[in-house]
């Protein structure tokens, strides 16, 4: 049975609107829907360029609607979390009065039986409008816009920015190789996978040799040494972004494991002042004890705490610095 890891990614975008989309969003806060003239046509929602000729359009805006005619529609029986309504509704293309194109939005009709091509609809306005496409909650059947009793009125300043927030939960497989690598880590071991063609060794449960493009599996496993040499390092001055627990500058080192081609990148270095970190330093792996593990709810390296200087003489090799992976 293959394990999976689930993660939710937030996509909090802030977008600048520009002179045309911004004017449209600002008008929405005033309970107006505007289009833009392009020759004899009125395009809704307004674009900055003519959709056919690609010519830049003068900012000649015109009020349309607020009511219009449904030119196509689809009933959404089970809305998604991103849909504008949480109960069954229709997506519809609405040709607003005075417009030559159709505007895509939701129609809150109550029932699929209330929907038909050609039906008339009007907007139901949100009370607190901010300059966003969902300032129109939905269109509703009929000619008259619906204005809430506690209507907040238009914004004082033109709208120039908008937020778009999406959240998606992803499920990705943890391959058998990755599982075995994690199990080895839990036992305080480094598991390597050696390519049968080129002999290069990989860590982290890689599924294939990226040079020779052959799959790797249990037959290719090798035990890796716990000692190595620092080939490169950086001192990081932490920025206090969410999740950053470090407050003082700290070292991250690259460790070339003895007698292998493996370089582990960005490893923590333990019990060493930053001004003593140097290329050529000999180090050995330090794993968390059972007691320490309990405090390591979310160590990115698993059980590996980091690397401790062994006290052996430094390796004097000017080419070490080139070994970064």
């Amino acid at each position: 049975m293959v394990q999976a890891v689930q993660s939710t990614i937030q996509f909090p975008y802030k977008r600048s609107l520009g002179p045309v989309v911004g004017a449209f969003m600002t008008a929405l806060t005033d309970r107006r829907i505007i289009g833009i003239r392009s020759g004899d046509r009125v395009i809704v929602p307004p674009l900055e360029w003519d959709p056919v000729t690609a010519e830049e359009l003068a900012h000649d805006f015109v009020d349309v609607g607020p009511a219009g005619r449904v030119t196509s529609w689809s009933w959404v029986a089970s809305p998604t979390a991103q849909h504008p309504l949480d109960h069954p509704f229709a997506f519809a293309l609405v040709q607003l009065d005075g417009a030559d194109t159709s505007f895509l939005h939701a129609v809150d009709a109550g029932s699929i039986d209330a929907m038909s091509t050609g039906m008339r609809v009007a907007p139901r306005w949100r009370a607190a409008r901010i300059g966003h496409i969902t300032d129109i909650e939905a269109f509703v059947p009929g000619e008259e816009p619906v204005v809430p009793a506690d209507d907040g009125g238009p914004v004082a300043e033109p709208v120039t920015m908008m937020d778009y927030n999406a959240s998606i939960t992803y499920t990705l497989p943890v391959t058998p190789n990755q599982q075995r690598a994690e199990e080895a880590n839990e036992q305080g071991r480094f598991l390597g996978l050696q390519c049968p063609v080129c002999g290069r060794t990989y860590t982290g449960g890689r599924g294939y040799c990226p040079v020779d493009s052959v799959p790797l599996g249990p037959d290719n496993e090798v035990e890796l040494p716990q000692r190595g040499t620092i080939t490169n390092y950086t001192i990081i001055t932490p920025v206090q972004y969410p999740g950053q627990t470090e407050t003082e500058p700290f070292a991250r080192v690259h460790v070339w494991l003895d007698d292998t081609g493996v370089v582990l990148g960005y490893q923590p270095l333990l019990d060493t002042p930053n001004d003593e970190v140097r290329i050529g330093m000999r180090v050995s792996a330090v794993w968390a004890s059972e007691a320490e593990l309990k405090d390591l709810a979310s160590n990115a390296e698993g059980r590996l705490l980091g690397w401790m200087p062994t006290g052996e003489p430094d390796v004097d090799d000017p080419d070490l610095v080139d070994r970064i992976q």
């Binding site: 809305p79 991103q82 997506f91 895509l104 599924g207």
Partner: protein, 355 residues
């Protein structure tokens, strides 16, 4: 087509099509690239250029295509490119690249693991971020708006759409890679509830994990490597504007333009593999392409049998090529599409024989 150096498909490979694979995207690609180069009788070392089509939002990871490069065997370093589009467009770029004339062999690929998350939540993020994405406009909702427009215009009926689904699933029984196949009764299909009216479950494609890779080569190299290259006789794509409310949804002018640019009208084709992921798109595309009524459409089952997003179009090209190399056809057509309501369309005309 302008006079250009002939380029041919010399090998290809299509992965099994499944609802959810245990493999990573790079592993899926590793297997189809190995399959395609072996099919072409070469090794990765003989590949001069690679181009991949995939989507970070589908993969759930920024720069996911960087990991996919591992599947190429990029050592010594290779010329590589990526398009955030179906692999059919990756092949288009590879086809253009070979026409520079300095290199001979390219691999194009497409891959997608739609099992990562709910496609209905991913798709809106790829839409116009001001007017469409904040409404959560998913692919099936867009498709339903186009289906309704076609029904209202008298161009298709819900029964005809169910018949397309039944035929696709029946044809797919002969396709070992198909995800959905079998014999289905049209009346039974029509008795099901709508998912997005007027679309029922059978009008929608399955959610699929899969990948495809093809090897293309310039004429001399193709003849040297392959006894029966499949020639790309025409290749073109056109785009319409994005916002569906500003288009006539009952026509597909970009498909017609691409077909003309690819020389489709110069001779009849014997088979058409279309990226009609929704049933109503098939009659619309057949009309836009001007296909004769007796031309078999999607004998593989098409996207209604397996829809590996980002590879679905490239699979159409592989299937159309298989019709020539393995089934004795002389001239076939493959189509790919991108964007809401068939916004952008690609046409690839393939021919057998010598060039």
């Amino acid at each position: 087509m302008p006079d250009i150096d002939p380029i041919a498909l010399i090998g290809w490979s299509v992965s099994p099509m499944v609802r959810s694979t245990d493999k990573t995207e790079a592993q899926m690609l590793l297997e189809v690239i190995t399959g395609a180069v072996e099919n072409a009788g070469i090794t990765r070392r003989e590949v001069d250029f690679t181009c991949a089509g995939s989507c970070d939002y589908v993969a759930g990871q920024a720069f996911s295509f960087v990991q996919n490069i591992d599947a190429i065997g990029a050592w010594p370093p290779k010329r590589d490119s990526h398009v955030e589009m179906d692999g059919a467009w990756a092949m288009y770029e590879a086809w253009l690249r070979l026409q520079l004339g300095d290199i001979d062999v390219a691999v194009a690929m497409g891959s997608g693991r739609s099992s990562t998350a709910d496609p209905a939540l991913i798709y809106p993020m790829e839409m116009d971020p001001y007017y469409l994405a904040p409404l959560g406009t998913d692919a099936a909702s867009f498709a339903a708006l186009q289906a309704r427009a076609l029904i209202d215009a008298g161009k298709v009926t819900e029964r005809q759409m169910a018949e397309v689904a039944a035929r696709a699933r029946r044809d797919a029984t002969g396709n070992p890679n198909a995800q959905v196949s079998g014999d289905f009764d049209v009346d039974t299909l029509l008795a099901e509830d709508y998912v997005r009216s007027p679309l029922r479950r059978h009008d929608l494609p399955p959610i699929t994990d899969g990948a495809c890779a093809v090897v293309i080569a310039r004429a001399d190299k193709a003849r040297e490597l392959c006894d029966n290259p499949v020639w790309i006789s025409g290749f073109a794509h056109y785009s319409e504007l994005h916002y569906p409310g500003m288009r006539d949804l009952t026509a597909s002018p970009s498909t017609t333009l691409a077909a003309k640019a690819a020389g489709l009208e110069e001779a009849p084709v014997e088979v058409a593999e279309l990226q009609s992921a929704f049933t109503h798109e098939e009659p619309l595309l057949v009309e836009a392409l001007g296909l004769a009524p007796d031309v078999p459409v999607n004998p593989s089952g098409g996207p209604l049998a397996a829809n590996p997003i980002m590879a679905t179009g490239l699979v159409r090209i592989a299937e159309a090529a298989t019709e020539i190399r393995d089934r004795g056809r002389q001239r076939t057509l493959a189509h790919s599409t991108s964007g809401p309501c068939l916004q952008q369309n690609l046409v690839c005309v393939l021919e057998g024989g010598s060039k």
